[in-house]
């Protein structure tokens, strides 16, 4: 087959029908542009919300859960080994929330090649006092540098700086808590721990995660301040948070650490199962809208090619009579649709990018997301690759049937018909 000749014929046929060609190509352009901007936007949104979750949830969290002892005495007994034992009214055993051997565990984890970073934490429920009222809340005692590298906590601090926590007896309180108790930076807040210890902490900042339930109860202090509050030693910690190189390995590694350290371990995927569903649905929506738009564009191409074939019956007959085979004719028409698809698609990518830039500068101000000023967009090149692939595949499929029809045109019938 002579490719250049086939190309040349296809080009000339398109030129003769320039207006319809442009209309068909614009259909593809529109479909691809919409697809690109929609997917970029949806993914930008996903990233934003993912970030929100990721900054709250470690890839793996190690902790001690209050629960019954797994191997009850009767199970250990030789005598009842072959029996089926029913035990009722088991009570959980409080082993304390502290992680034993915490320093050793952290050392081991830090040496693990799959682990990016480790951040210990002390979490304890407390009561905040404001005048005569008591509000229950939570104090997170964090290792400042590690927490910042894992969760970018500073992004969520509305007033003050994370480094202010390095002062003794300082605290950053949640925005909801601050409003409720009418506190601001510089004030002193009184706290009672579960064991009844009383303490006064200086407010150095106000944090806002963007989720009201959390902002209403959470406050943050340094791990040493928290240990002091609880009257515990400096190796006391309730949580070890891990960030991994590859988040996909979290479930498997959580399982591994669970048995290795005899601790409870929860992975990111399990903790955010519900959230993942939302992400997936947004992705599905954007792709299906894109595909629908392209199918519509595909019908446009199908129509124009069909029309072109009826118009060019004589040309097809003469090409065949002078020695072009059915497959040559088929390629001419496939090429026609490919030209429409590729030009339309490339323009679609271009306009998709332009639309994305426009959406990107539209202000999007929400109280719950202090660091976000405009609509989030994700400019992943893979969307553009998918877009152009979609365009080409759709136009090829739309062009295939007309092309096959053209290849089967019987020249004798046309020549006789005159």
């Amino acid at each position: 087959m002579n490719h250049r000749l086939v190309q040349n014929i296809a080009f000339h046929m398109l030129r003769a029908r320039l207006k319809q060609t442009i209309i068909a190509a614009v259909g593809v352009t529109f479909g691809i542009a919409m697809f690109i901007s929609l997917v970029s936007f949806m993914n930008g949104m996903n990233d934003l919300l993912d970030g929100l979750m990721l900054n709250r949830t470690p890839h793996i969290r190690l902790y001690n859960e209050i629960k019954p002892v797994e191997s009850q005495p009767v199970i250990l007994s030789e005598e009842y080994k072959n029996n089926i034992n029913f035990i009722s009214s088991i009570k959980p055993k409080d082993r304390g929330k502290a992680i034993y051997n915490s320093q050793t565990i952290i050392d081991v984890l830090k040496k693990d090649k799959r682990v990016l970073d480790v951040a210990p934490k002390v979490v304890t429920p407390v009561f905040f006092h404001s005048g005569t009222i008591e509000i229950s809340g939570v104090i997170n005692g964090i290792a400042i540098a590690a927490e910042e590298s894992l969760f970018k906590f500073s992004d969520y601090i509305r007033e003050g700086k994370i480094t202010d926590l390095e002062q003794n007896n300082s605290i950053i309180i949640g925005a909801g808590l601050a409003t409720k108790m009418m506190l601001s930076v510089g004030d002193v807040i009184k706290i009672t721990t579960p064991k009844g210890n009383l303490a006064s902490l200086k407010i150095v900042g106000i944090s806002q995660i963007g989720i009201a339930e959390i902002d209403d109860v959470m406050s943050t202090t340094s791990i040493s301040t928290a240990q002091k509050l609880l009257g515990e030693a400096t190796n006391y910690m309730t949580d070890i948070q891990l960030k991994l190189h590859d988040i996909e390995m979290a479930p498997q590694m959580a399982k591994e650490f669970r048995s290795k350290f005899e601790l409870d371990a929860i992975d990111y995927q399990t903790a955010n199962a519900q959230f993942e569903t939302g992400t997936r649905i947004r992705t599905i929506i954007s792709y299906s809208v894109g595909v629908v738009l392209l199918i519509v564009a595909g019908f446009g191409i199908y129509n124009i090619l069909n029309m072109l074939i009826y118009e060019k019956m004589d040309s097809i007959a003469i090409l065949k009579a002078t020695g072009f085979s059915g497959s040559d004719v088929k390629w001419i028409f496939l090429l026609l649709s490919l030209i429409i698809g590729v030009t339309g698609g490339v323009f679609g990518l271009f306009f998709g990018f332009i639309f994305s830039r426009i959406i990107d500068v539209i202000p999007f101000v929400t109280a719950s997301l202090p660091t976000v000023k405009t609509y989030p967009m994700n400019y992943n090149p893979i969307f553009y690759v998918i877009g152009i692939t979609f365009a080409i595949v759709t136009t090829l499929v739309a062009g295939l049937f007309p092309a096959l029809k053209a290849s089967k045109v019987d020249p004798v019938e046309i020549i006789r018909g005159k």
């Binding site: 002579n2 000749l5 014929i9 000339h12 046929m13 030129r15 003769a16 004589d314 040309s315 007959a317 003469i318 090409l319 065949k320 009579a321 002078t322 020695g323 072009f324 085979s325 059915g326 497959s327 040559d328 019987d410 020249p411 004798v412 020549i415 006789r416 005159k418």
Partner: protein
Amino acid sequence: MSNKVLETIGLTKYFYEPSKFKVLDNISMSIDHGEFVSVVGKSGCGKSTLLYLLSTMDTDYEGKILIHEEDVTGKKDVDLARIRNENIGFVFQFHYLLSEYNALKNVMLPGLKLGKLSEEELEHQAMEYLKTLGMHDQALKRPRQLSGGQKQRVAIARALINNPLIIMGDEPTGNLDKKNSDMVFDIFKQLAQEHNQTILVVTHDVEFASKTNRIITMEDGMIIS
């Protein structure tokens, strides 16, 4: 090696619509190299049908067709297309030029498809043929800017471009006035005499036919002389 360019053995064809009937009945004939043959017969006797079979465009028949001693019966579409491209030149009653291209490019098209000569060589060759047919000054015109006779001459040049074994025409002068059909006849005759070109022409024009080397007369799907 014999001199036969085209041969049919027991060629039979049926049409099934609206009812089954035999258009061509056991036709056996052959055409030698350099012959100028005309086919005549009453309207509806099957002349065009025969020509379409010989041209390899219609493959629905019984019997055998040999082009240059090679049996083309039952060959694949691609192979038949190549045989047509290389060995057969067509001139129809209606000119059938591609409206997207100018006269010159129309003439070059089968040559470009064959791909034996470079584009420049082909262009030169096409120009030569157009010159022989007195059309070189019209070479860059589009088909719709040409008269009927001029279009027919472009079609003849196109039929010649690949130096085919045989040129076939189905009433090539049927649509032309006396002056133009005389000119087309003269061109054919000149090709036959000076270039030893084999030509097979279906015609109603008795005067035209009488001037050819050999007349094949058909009646009801059979050759009677």
